[in-house]
């Protein structure tokens, strides 16, 4: 067997799954977004689904909300994760416990965390009860709206809680690969500890931090179940809006759901391009 045949045989099943399910699924969504569904006698593709979503105020509001959630949670999670990674690199009492908690958090499904945040921060949640006990509020309605709120504070907090450990672990693995040699050289040349971190370690970590952030952004932008639990009634995040349009009893909104899915996919592909550029698309290793 030549190497070429061997390669084709080894890769064929994976390519079949990715092509047959993933790419075909995307393609079918794209076709339907152009209102091309031969089975229903719709054989003349047009762009009316796109005009419909772009002229409806709901779509743009949802797009902005989703981008807001993804940007803010990624930014906060990235900054805190960097601080956490720098902290966990040092030795101090209790470090093992924190390392364990960071890993524990990684295994908890998003929907569980979302329900936990809801029970913690809702107007009748644990913090509201504490505020009542402290005499700060008399009724639940006086407690600030932190879940199902217009600024998506609950959703953002959940993503920070869930993705901080994710980015931290990537950074720690990266620091381990880099070793301490670069910083030692800087220190021996007279740099202070902070200068060595700021001018030597941070630039070396940056590609990994950005790549991990791209993953987190993509997830926070496209997740469905977290805003389902913690999101406000209106505006809804884009994935929830798209799903709702697809299950509407009014069949004409179906192509609009497909068009929204295509917009989400395009943003996903842009992030993929960014990620591949940061990681170097030839390397199979993570950042």
């Amino acid at each position: 067997m030549t190497d070429r045949t061997r390669l084709v045989l080894l890769l064929a099943p994976a390519l079949l799954v990715l092509g047959g399910l993933f790419l075909t699924g995307l393609g079918l969504t794209l076709l339907r977004s152009f209102r091309y569904v031969p089975a229903l006698g719709m054989t003349e593709p047009d762009l009316s689904a796109y005009t419909a979503i772009l002229t409806a105020p709901g779509f743009l509001k949802s797009l902005v909300l989703s981008l807001w959630i993804a940007s803010v949670s990624t930014l906060i999670a990235a900054v805190l994760a960097l601080a956490t990674a720098l902290l966990l690199r040092q030795t101090f009492p209790g470090r093992a416990v924190i390392s364990f908690l960071v890993q524990l958090n990684l295994t908890i499904p998003h929907i569980v965390g979302a329900i936990g945040i809801l029970y913690l921060l809702s107007q009748s949640g644990s913090f509201a009860r504490l505020a009542h006990a402290a005499g700060l509020i008399a009724t639940p309605a006086e407690f600030p709206v932190l879940t199902q709120d217009p600024y998506a504070i609950g959703i953002i907090l959940l993503y920070v809680w869930k993705e901080l450990p994710f980015i931290t672990l990537i950074l720690l693995a990266n620091m381990q690969t880099l070793g301490e040699d670069h910083e030692s050289v800087a220190r021996s040349l007279g740099a202070t500890r902070w200068q060595a971190v700021r001018h030597v370690l941070l630039p070396l970590l940056m590609p990994a931090l950005l790549a991990a952030s791209a993953l987190v952004f993509a997830f926070a932008f496209g997740a469905y179940e977290v805003p389902l639990v913690l999101g406000a009634h209106a505006p809804k995040v884009l994935p929830v809006l798209a799903w709702q349009a697809s299950t509407d009893s009014d069949l004409t909104t179906r192509p609009e759901a497909m068009a929204m899915a295509v917009v989400i996919a395009l943003i996903g592909f842009a992030l993929l391009a960014l990620y591949a550029r940061l990681v170097g698309k030839d390397s199979p290793r993570a950042p």
């Binding site: 995307l26 969504t29 924190i98 890993q103 929907i111 936990g116 994710f166 996919a265 698309k281």
Partner: protein, 267 residues
Amino acid sequence: MRPSLRTLAGLALAGFLVLPLLPLVAWSVARGWRFPALMPDQVSAQAWTFALSSQAGVLASFATTTLIATATTLLALLVGLPAGRALGLYRFRGRGLVLLLLLAPALLPGIAVVFGLHGILLRLGLAGTMPGVILAHLIPVLPYMTLVMTAVFARFDPAFEQQARSLGATPLQTFRSVTLPAIMPGLMIACLFAFLVSWSQYLLTLAVGAGRVQTLPLLLFSFASAGRNDITAAIALLYILPGLLILAVTARRITGRGAALTERLHP
């Protein structure tokens, strides 16, 4: 930073990481816990008794979820192991493109592919069935499995296989006695985390299962939206159990070489 300050920062971090889980533990044993009571009026095993009874459907759902995640993992292994071998051991034209194609489902939101996917599975007669849900889960799980196996095979020396073959071992014997032991640690971690990725899927199951395949997260959400905080909390804690078990198994590996594999885990 002084060690005492580090401990303080560590404590704050630990508090933040644990905080959302505390109300779940409290609610699961609470009975009649109305605002503004700080603590439940009564501690009760009622929610747990109900969640573990056959009428709640939680145990059946647990079994369904386990079955789906196990089948998805095995299927992903069957497909991802050969692909990982090709990508880890060989440099060929189009390799970058294949890696990019593998990364795409890990990065693209499920909602982008789910409508078209439902159409395909409907045509195959698999919509609303467990095999359909397993195929759907394969999309986010396969990239993870393949990329970890790629990293595993990148460190694997195929010369050992050639020696075994030249000494008269059959391909199957070579795989069992030479290849498998060498890739086993990485393979185990890939499988455990593949299991977790499938275990936590929500939207793909909802869309492809069409209400007929009830996994734990779907059941969890229906109790949560019904406002049954105590039962919801008990189910949520049951739902995180396998993750805790997996963590216990891999905790020792997760530092060092394991960490390089953990970073493949989907956020």
